[in-house]
């Protein structure tokens, strides 16, 4: 109900600016962490987050309201983050796997990463997952999103998401516990 009021305000030119600022306040942190777990670097996350909100602002009139606004924004954020990684891989002429390994290497020197050995190993393990499993794992394990919402964001059935998550957890556990 609150969302539908906000959408009406977001679509009206007289109330748009205030409604958009409220929307940013409400979702900026959640979307920041969602993007950060995909692109890992803070500055890259900042760029992607800004682009996400700019796209939301520009396209709000085309939002059909057949899903909740936050799942729509998560979808935009996910697509922006993945597209950012694709462009970066293309720029460096890397495969997706090579880029993931490079990102992990960069993490070691990142001023905004203070992970211990196990947290670094966790990031390495996540980086080895296929893209979809990586997304599902992050969204479920860290963000604790509901499968129904993830289904709407990733346009994948709940059953497939559960299977992906199960496989991802098993693979990560195996990597973290192996000597």
């Amino acid at each position: 109900m609150q969302d539908s009021i906000a959408i009406k305000e977001l679509k009206s030119s007289t109330t748009q600016e205030k409604a958009f600022k409220d929307l940013v306040e409400k979702y900026k942190e959640r979307l920041y962490w969602h993007i950060r777990r995909i692109v890992l670097d803070h500055d890259d996350t900042d760029d992607v987050l800004q682009n996400t909100f700019i796209k939301v602002y520009r396209n709000i009139q085309t939002f059909k309201e057949d899903s909740a606004i936050y799942t729509w924004m998560y979808r935009i954020a996910t697509n922006e983050a993945l597209s950012f990684l694709q462009k970066r891989a293309k720029f460096y002429d890397n495969t997706s796997d090579e880029l993931q390994q490079k990102m992990i290497e960069n993490l070691k020197a990142d001023a905004y990463f203070d992970g211990d050995e196990i947290q670094m190993k966790l990031q390495q393990a996540i980086a080895t997952l296929p893209e979809k499993q990586r997304l599902v794992f992050n969204m479920k394990y860290f963000e604790e999103l509901k499968y129904e919402d993830m289904s709407s964001i990733l346009e994948t059935s709940v059953g497939a998401l559960k299977a992906s998550y199960h496989h991802a957890v098993k693979k990560i556990e195996m990597q973290l516990t192996k000597l």
Binding site: K21, V24, E25, K28, E29, Y32, W33, R36, R37, L40, H42, D46, L49, Q50, F53, I54, Y57, Y112, F113, D114, G115, D116, I118, Q119, M120, L122, Q123, K140, Y141, F142, E144, K146, Y165, V169, I172, E173, L176, T177
Partner: protein
């Protein structure tokens, strides 16, 4: 069975939505692994999230103003092209000639060839530079062209064929 349930309901209570959210909590518990840490070690610069909205709004405003400037520039460029086409038509009318400041006479054929060989690249700055110091009074009109002919010429010549560069 009914009596037992009823008795339980009287003596004990459960938190609101306890049963409706039970499956979700159970799934979450099963899905959480003791081997996998919940903390990631990622940090955010101090004040980043507090300042984010302000920076975002500045960027949106910058993009808006940049879009307006581009539209204005495009409008001026299009106006310049239209003016050049009209001027060009006046100049290129068979039999017309244009006398340069050096007193040399440019024939219609010379100007046509120049354009056909692609030497004209319509850029706002090129146009200004080319026509700087040229007064319209220097153009000798011997045969005024009727308005209908100008409109017909513009209709027959698609200005999209010319290269438009917006700086």
């Amino acid at each position: 069975m009914e009596r037992k349930t009823s008795k339980n309901n009287k003596d004990f209570s459960v938190p609101k939505n306890y049963f409706s959210s039970f499956n979700e909590r159970l799934e979450s518990r099963i899905g959480t692994s003791e081997a996998i840490p919940k903390a990631t070690g990622f940090m955010v610069p101090d004040g980043y999230l507090d300042e984010f909205s302000g920076r975002l709004w500045n960027k949106i405003n910058q993009k808006r103003s940049s879009a307006r400037t581009t539209k204005v520039r495009l409008f001026y460029a299009m106006s310049s092209i239209a003016a050049i086409l009209i001027l060009g038509f006046i100049i290129l009318k068979p039999g017309n000639t244009m006398v340069t400041e050096q007193g040399e006479e440019l024939t219609t054929f010379d100007i046509n060839s120049y354009i056909e060989e692609g030497f004209i690249n319509l850029n706002t700055y090129d146009i200004i530079e080319t026509f700087e110091g040229v007064s319209l009074e220097d153009i000798q009109m011997t045969d005024p062209i009727p308005r209908e002919e100008i409109i017909e010429y513009l209709n027959q010549n698609n200005i999209d064929n010319y290269t438009l560069t917006v700086e």
